[in-house]
Subunit: 237 residues, 2 copies
DNA sequence: CCTAGTTACGTACAGCGTACGTAGTGCGCT
DNA sequence: AGCGCACTACGTACGCTGTACGTAACTAGG
């Protein structure tokens, strides 16, 4: 009969080896790495069970011995890149440390643009995610606040970074499945936005466009956002 | 030949009627409403071109006369529910007004849980989204700040609300495609999380679990988050 | 040693987005 | 007035997806 049980489980709780039978040809790390490679190269849509299996050099259905559902493959991917966080030694300056963490997260998501799409749909407590969370809490040791508050800080900071990068890359990832280039897509959208703003229906929005005529400094926007989040948690702020 | 052009375009720029030919049987609003109805009832996965066409009572391919790509259908959906925002008269108290906007957004996303998945993937400047943005800017008239700063405020507030609701509903929406119930899923994940925390590998995380033993008041967390965001933009804060 | 549990993988199915072809309809132009 | 073209409508078909299921080979535990 089928060893594949249709029973609730977390992939992390399922042991990677069980002893019986021929020894598995791949580790979970192998599989995650293959999937990440495909996603980096061809976007999230390039990650199909068939493609990952081909990348590993095995039959499609063999993958299901390691990964019961596609969802779990996504979870492996998120965990794998979560492991890319550098867990440095806390310096004692919690603001500086958290800034460093946030900037790292942003860089990580730029390296793996498909992450933003997975973040809102995958459960966030894989081993490496827990490790990162623990690291953040260690950075926050000097902050005098309840543990719950610290977790709220980490969640809010991560959330803001995610949405920021999501906005930044909104076209970049989506355009992969479109039959035209990112430049064309942006041009046509900006043209529409311009026509709407020029229509006079959105006076305040139009005024804002007049104000900052030049190109916006996205990095500065990002840094301002971080400062504001941290301010919200600083004592006497 | 094909009237279906594989050329970059925004669906909002394409006129709904062109004069020539038999008159369309549906409006964009009809289509959006049908798709939203399906998504509310059966989750985002229930929104397929075939299903929407069936809901409207037309052939699958007829839908492509109105909606050139599935992506555009999503855009119609987002715009339709964006129109559910109540654009009240600003009171002069920008903090209170923005709180009201944020709470409305949260309620809206609870009514349409699939929205969080669409928000990070769909371009954010549909007509109703622009109207809402303009409304927020009107609420912020009393705030003495550059227009760019106000837009940052709106973006940050919306972003935080989105990620908050996303975390809140992460299982709820995902579990629809799983062969077991949300309760089972949560139970199994909490069991795993508990086992990890109990393993001693994450001491600070464990301490935090000890601290707030009781169930957390999610609404309070939400309100605290909003206050912190607004604080970051209040003068002399 | 035997056998139960595992790995491996081909086949098959239902569903998806959508390219394409054809038939019918009615506005705009000459 | 009437021709032609742009449009609507929609059936068929293709390539892709996730994955249920069956079969064959293999190996560790009793």
């Amino acid at each position: 009969m089928a060893g594949r049980a249709a029973v609730p489980e977390v992939i992390w709780a399922r042991p990677e080896r069980t002893g019986r039978g021929p020894k598995p040809a791949f580790t979970r790390a192998d599989i995650a790495a293959a999937a990440v490679r495909l996603a980096d190269a061809g976007g999230l849509d390039a990650v199909s069970m068939r493609h990952v299996a081909a990348e590993l050099g095995c039959g499609t259905m063999s993958l299901y011995n390691y990964v019961p559902r596609k969802e779990d493959l996504y979870e492996l991917m998120v965990d794998a890149v979560s492991g890319e966080h550098e867990l440095f030694e806390p310096t004692g300056d919690w603001r500086a440390d958290m800034l460093r963490n946030a900037r790292q997260t942003k860089a990580l998501m730029h390296r793996h643009p498909w992450m933003v799409r997975l973040m809102s749909g995958v459960y966030g407590f894989s081993p490496n995610a827990l490790r990162y969370l623990e690291h953040c809490l260690a950075c926050l040791d000097p902050l005098d606040a309840r543990a719950g508050t610290k977790i709220e800080l980490v969640a809010m900071l991560n959330g803001c970074v995610t949405t920021y990068v999501s906005n930044e890359l909104s076209t970049a990832e989506r355009v992969r499945s479109l039959p035209w280039s990112e430049e064309q897509e942006n041009a046509v959208r900006i043209a529409y936005l311009g026509s709407q703003v020029a229509s006079g229906a959105y006076p305040r929005l139009a005024a804002s466009f007049m104000e900052d005529a030049g190109p916006i400094d996205l990095d500065a926007v990002f840094e301002r956002m971080l400062e504001r989040v941290l301010d919200g948690f600083s004592p006497r702020g």
